[in-house]
């Protein structure tokens, strides 16, 4: 008679002593495999008497179950420790640097134009565009520049060579010719802004031969100077993201508007740092006015029926003021250090719902 308790004890001991999964599998085969010792005992039941078989069978089944359970338990334990070992082996130095990625940037001029478009777009302004190379009519004549105006002479206008008929093209000195093109193309009501490149033959600390402007034009039957004030005050507050910024409209002169105004915003220069908002100083940021009746007439619009306003401002200037960029000339230098510092992340699309800037 075999001592089943001993069989169980020996089996469990050897299972507990299995050092790895291979050893454990060998044990399983040796115990429960087709030729395993426990299997052999089970087979021996056939030779027993029915009574003996019943009692021994029950005992033997209990042993077999215990062995199987022990094998499973041991396997789980060995699996876990094998995984631990692997994980320990796979450790890397996570302080090492990641693979290099190139981060692009959006130029402050583009970003500022997008901001301006977002604000005026909300007020229903469409965006109009026009050519950089212009003629005298669109750049000057239609805009009511008197024939002897200094800007028409060799002073600050870039000219292309004279043609056989004596005419010559020029690089637009402002975005205003697109006003003329818009009015000639489209009947009122008109509400457009016009961002773009402009050119003046001037280069020093605060001037570059090329710069950007954004122009605005509203023509309908009712828009008056009160709307001009409201529109621009709203723009200034939204653009600079400052709620209490004083805005001052001061009379000025432009050939293509009357009455004309220059717009100053409040600022403080305390401690040498420029801050937009309520303060002791004023800062000029744009020119504007009611569209001159001669301009309307030149564009085929009856000034007794239609009226409206126009404004224009320098993109670089408002970008410099908002983002504290000290030098105009650096905008065109393509210095990667500057572009990365003052540029904007590509996914920072200015919106009014989410705010213009982070």
């Amino acid at each position: 008679m075999i001592d089943l308790d001993q069989v169980r004890a020996e089996a469990l001991d050897s299972i507990a002593g299995a050092a790895n999964l291979e050893g454990l599998e060998q044990l399983r085969v040796a115990l429960l495999g087709k030729k395993g010792s426990v299997t052999a005992l089970m087979k021996s039941l056939g030779e027993m008497s029915p009574d003996e078989r019943r009692t021994t069978g029950q005992q033997l089944n209990a042993v077999k179950e215990a062995v199987a359970q022990a094998l499973d338990a041991r396997k789980t334990a060995l699996d876990a420790s094998a995984l631990d070992e692997r994980l320990a082996r796979e450790r890397v130095d996570v302080t090492l640097s990641v693979r290099p990625e190139m981060q692009g940037r959006i130029h402050p001029i583009s970003q500022t134009i997008d901001e301006v478009v977002a604000i005026f777009g909300q007020m229903g302004f469409a965006v109009a565009e026009g050519p950089d190379i212009e003629d005298d009519f669109h750049n000057f004549t239609a805009l009511n520049f008197p024939p002897e105006h200094p800007a028409r002479l060799m002073h600050d206008t870039f000219f292309l060579p004279e043609k056989e008929d004596g005419s010559r093209f020029l690089l637009r000195t402002h975005t205003s010719p697109v006003q003329v093109r818009t009015m000639l193309k489209q009947p009122p009501p008109i509400r457009v802004i016009i961002p773009g490149r402009t050119y003046r033959c001037d280069s020093d600390m605060t001037h570059t031969p090329m710069f950007h402007q954004v122009e605005g034009l509203v023509i309908d039957k009712a828009t008056n100077m009160g709307h001009l004030k409201g529109c621009l005050i709203e723009f200034v507050k939204t653009y600079f993201e400052v709620d209490d910024v004083p805005v001052r409209f001061r009379p000025s002169f432009f050939p293509f508007t009357e009455p004309s105004a220059e717009v100053d915003i409040g600022c403080s220069r305390a401690g040498g740092e420029l801050k937009i908002g309520a303060g002791a100083d004023w800062l000029e940021i744009l020119g504007c006015g009611m569209v001159h009746p001669n301009v309307l007439k030149n564009c085929g619009i009856d000034p007794d029926e239609y009226q409206g306003f126009a404004f224009g401002m320098g993109i670089e200037r408002i970008a410099m003021l908002k983002y504290g960029i000290p030098d105009l000339r650096t905008f065109f230098d393509s210095d990667l250090r500057w572009l990365r510092h003052y540029g904007f992340l590509p996914l920072d699309v200015p919106t009014l719902t989410g705010g213009l800037t982070r």
């Binding site: 090492l96 640097s97 693979r99 290099p100 990625e101 190139m102 981060q103 692009g104 940037r105 959006i106 130029h107 001029i109 583009s110 478009v117 777009g121 229903g124 302004f125 469409a126 050519p131 950089d132 190379i133 002897e148 002479l153 870039f158 000219f159 292309l160 060579p161 690089l171 490149r197 033959c201 001037d202 280069s203 031969p209 509203v218 828009t223 008056n224 100077m225 009160g226 709307h227 004030k229 529109c231 005050i233 709203e234 409209f249 001061r250 009379p251 000025s252 002169f253 009357e258 009455p259 004309s260 009611m290 001159h292 009746p293 009226q307 065109f332 210095d335 250090r337 540029g343 590509p346």
Partner: protein, 798 residues
């Protein structure tokens, strides 16, 4: 335009402060550039009384003074030669900022003796140049009071005058605007003709042909004799000095004073130096004038001169001649008061490069009705300051008649200005500006004053009313707008934004470069046409309109390399020009990568940029623009500034959408940029716009329930065969089942034979109706082999 407070007050009766005046000027459109108020720099300076002045114990040249300063008595060491007992002085105590240095005074120790203050010179206070000694105040000056309460200090205003306001180039014009706005009242200008004592020995005449008569419509002259051209009185010298004019002699100072005071330039000739009568005429060819500035000018027949029998003696409205200028010995003069054509004056001044106060005013236009009154006022002042007697005036020509009469509808002020101004207030404003207003009700008739040539129509009057009434009074109104604003950007504008941000996402940094570049560089990129070369460039290296965005990007990369940044990834979006007409400007996006694709890294070696980076950028740009993913043909041809063997075009039918490639080594050498450099140029408008759709719904997604299968093939083809041809052929083998073909290996070593290469492709089959059997797959594979073989002569690699 500069003037002092006291000068302004000669015309304006006002109790307003300097700050109030400055603020009002700005709000009238007469923008104050600066107000220099010397008093503002003199905080803390007080009147001192030198009680005692002894020799400094340790220095011969220094004095040790006891100075009474109100309650205290201070010990002050002073080096000034005039420091003496009994003097009333200007005293600064420690802490007071000295205007000349901008620094606060410290308590000093001079050669072992404490000095508790400083006695100042005019120069130290920036009130003059005198530094010979300390200031000696009148002996009756009270001691201990602030200096500003005992000396007369005149603030200087500097106002910028817009070109339409010629009338404000005189102090009186500015005073008139202030008075009209309610800040004081304009003092009357009394013009009493001076009776002539004798007939003018010098006559005046106008010698023009009828078609040039507008060059000088009026010439008024008057002779004087028995003058003494001495120094001007102090008040006049102070006025001129304060605005930056140097007092010279009474006669010259009078003309300068009239220029600034009444916006009326005058000229005086020394009558003893004249030959015969004076006349105005156009200069003769070859004529010359030695001018008062010491330079000699060659004149031509577009220029107006004042001449005597000997020739030109003055350039009309611009500058006088040296030969007939007045001097200290002058006793007889002829006064010239004339009207000259603004445009001719401007052209003459510009051509000869002469800037003068007279030219500045003549070219903006003078008050044509003021010639005779100005002559009378000047006569009175000359007689007053120089003595002598005046002749009867001589006058040639006449001021052009002023027929302006403007219908003014008061309701236009509210219509345009958005502001309600009572009609009575409008009339008061216009009257204050010198207009004559008549009529009543809805339509007034306004005759503007002779000095306001800028007022020609109703809208000018509307502006005047609103300006004087004040822009601050205009209410702020919101623009009417829809409850929810519709999108405003055109498809082209939206697309430009997507491309910009799409390229930036790929690591390209956006830049903005000039629209022009050196013509030599332009020529290298297909430009440099004469019609696109600027007639007046800012410099010779910015003289041609750019035919491409690349040269400026390459130059930018070079500048970055010079700063030590060798790996560059830049792009720009903007115009390029191939003709001077509006349609010949193209909207471009261009990008440039130079050096390595990224920094060195411990896991992967740094890689030099290559043509496929540029191709990838170009494809990404086109994709961002919404261009078709399929249907783009890649053609191995590109402009001359690309490497001929490493560049290509992306085309849609006949249209080129983009070029890409390695930049030609010759171009790099010419720009002196170290490569490798790869670039792309994309024509934004060549990407077709999406068709307008009724809804925004996307097409229904069709997904197959069956798993896709991948099969690899390796073909040996001639080296000249384009990979694209193999891919296309494979794709065409079974358009229903094959959804993708990609090249995953290229081998062109010796194992595949001379002139051959092996291309390995992976073909993806997507079963649609049923799972594919091995037989099905074999059949497709055979079709692929067959199609590639037919199209390219390629065979499966053995």
């Amino acid at each position: 335009m500069k003037f002092t407070l006291s000068w302004l007050k000669r015309h304006l009766d006002t109790a307003a402060t300097v700050a109030e005046i400055a603020d009002r000027l700005t709000m009238l459109g007469l923008e104050v550039e600066s107000v220099d108020d010397p008093a503002s720099r003199l905080n803390g300076f007080i009147v001192g009384h030198v009680l005692q002045a002894d020799k400094h114990p340790n220095a011969d040249r220094l004095r040790l003074c006891k100075v009474a300063a109100g309650k205290a008595t201070l010990q002050v060491v002073c080096g000034a030669p005039n420091a003496r007992a009994g003097l009333k002085v200007v005293l600064a105590q420690p802490g007071v900022v000295i205007p000349a240095t901008g620094e606060a005074l410290k308590k000093g120790n001079v050669r072992g003796v404490e000095s508790q203050g400083m006695m100042c010179s005019w120069r130290e206070l920036k009130l003059g140049e005198d530094h010979e000694g300390i200031i000696e105040l009148p002996s009756d000056t009270p001691v201990g009071v602030p200096l500003t309460s005992v000396i007369h200090l005149d603030p200087v205003f500097d106002v910028s005058i817009t070109p339409n306001r010629a009338d404000c180039l005189g102090v009186r014009g500015i005073a008139r605007d202030l008075a009209a706005s309610g800040l004081g009242s304009l003092k009357p200008l009394s013009i009493e003709p001076v009776k002539g004592a004798f007939a003018s020995p010098v006559g005046v005449s106008l010698q023009f042909s009828p078609d040039t008569a507008d060059a000088c419509p009026m010439f008024v002259g008057r002779s004087f004799r028995g003058l003494r051209n001495g120094e001007s009185p102090q008040w006049l010298k102070d006025c001129l000095t304060a605005v930056g004019l140097r007092p010279i002699s009474a006669l010259v100072d009078i003309t300068n004073y009239f220029t600034v005071d009444l916006d009326r330039p005058l000229h005086v000739f020394d009558a003893a130096k004249l030959n015969g009568d004076l006349h105005a005429r156009l200069a003769r060819p070859g004529e010359q004038l030695a001018a008062l500035n010491g330079k000699t000018y060659a004149l031509d027949e577009t220029m107006t001169v004042i001449a005597d029998d000997a020739g030109a003696q003055g350039l009309a409205g611009v500058i006088g001649g040296e030969a007939t200028g007045v001097s200290a010995e002058t006793t007889e003069v002829v006064l010239e008061v004339a009207l000259f054509d603004p445009m001719r004056t401007a052209a003459t001044g510009r051509r000869l490069a002469i800037d003068s106060d007279a030219r500045y005013r003549f070219e903006r236009g003078l008050d044509p009705a003021f010639a005779i009154p100005a002559m009378e006022l000047a006569t009175r002042m000359i007689l007053e300051l120089c003595g002598g007697e005046a002749s009867q005036p001589v006058v040639a020509g006449a001021a052009p008649a002023d027929k302006r009469s403007i219908v003014f509808r008061p309701q236009r002020v509210a219509q345009l200005g958005g502001i309600e101004v009572p009609v009575a207030e409008m009339v008061r404003i216009l009257d204050g500006l010198g207009c004559t207003v008549s009529g009543e009700g809805e339509s007034l008739v306004v005759a503007p004053p002779s000095w306001r040539a800028d007022i020609t129509a109703e809208h000018d009057l509307v502006e005047e009313v609103i300006r004087i009434h004040g822009y601050d009074a205009i209410p702020t109104l919101s623009m009417p707008r829809p409850a929810v604003v519709r999108p405003v950007l055109t498809p082209q504008q939206k697309r430009a934004g997507w491309v910009r941000r799409g390229l930036a996402v790929r690591g390209l940094v956006e830049t903005v470069t000039w629209s022009f570049l050196p013509s030599a560089l332009a020529a290298m990129f297909g430009g440099g046409k004469p019609e696109l070369t600027l007639a007046n460039p800012i410099s010779s290296d910015l003289d041609a309109m750019r035919p491409s965005l690349l040269p400026n990007l390459l130059a930018a990369a070079g500048r970055n390399a010079d700063r030590g940044i060798k790996d560059v990834a830049l792009f720009e979006q903007g115009p390029q020009f191939h003709g001077d007409l509006p349609g010949e400007q193209q909207a471009m996006a261009a990008g440039l990568r130079v050096g390595r694709s990224g920094a060195r890294h411990w896991m992967q070696a740094a890689r030099a940029v290559d043509v496929f980076d540029a191709k990838s950028d170009a494809l990404a740009g086109i994709a961002a623009a919404g261009g078709p993913a399929d249907g783009l043909q890649v053609v191995a041809e590109a402009p001359a500034w690309y490497h001929p063997g490493r560049s290509g075009s992306l085309k849609l039918g006949p249209k080129t959408v983009a070029w890409f490639g390695e930049v030609h080594p010759g171009v790099l050498a010419a720009i002196d940029l170290k490569g490798p450099a790869v670039a792309f140029e994309m024509f934004l408008d060549a990407v077709p716009l999406p068709k307008a759709k009724a809804t925004r719904a996307k097409p229904l997604l069709k997904v197959s329930p069956f798993q896709p299968i991948e099969r690899d093939f390796a073909f040996v083809v001639d080296r000249s065969v384009a990979a694209d041809a193999v891919v296309r052929a494979a794709k065409s083998a079974d358009k229903a089942l094959i959804t993708d073909v990609l090249v995953f290996d290229l081998y062109d070593g010796s194992h595949v034979g001379e002139g051959k290469k092996s291309l390995a492709i992976q073909v993806t089959l997507q079963p649609v109706e049923k799972t594919l059997t091995d037989v099905d797959i074999e059949a497709v594979a055979a079709k692929v082999v067959d199609a590639v073989g037919k199209a390219t002569g390629g065979a499966l690699r053995g």
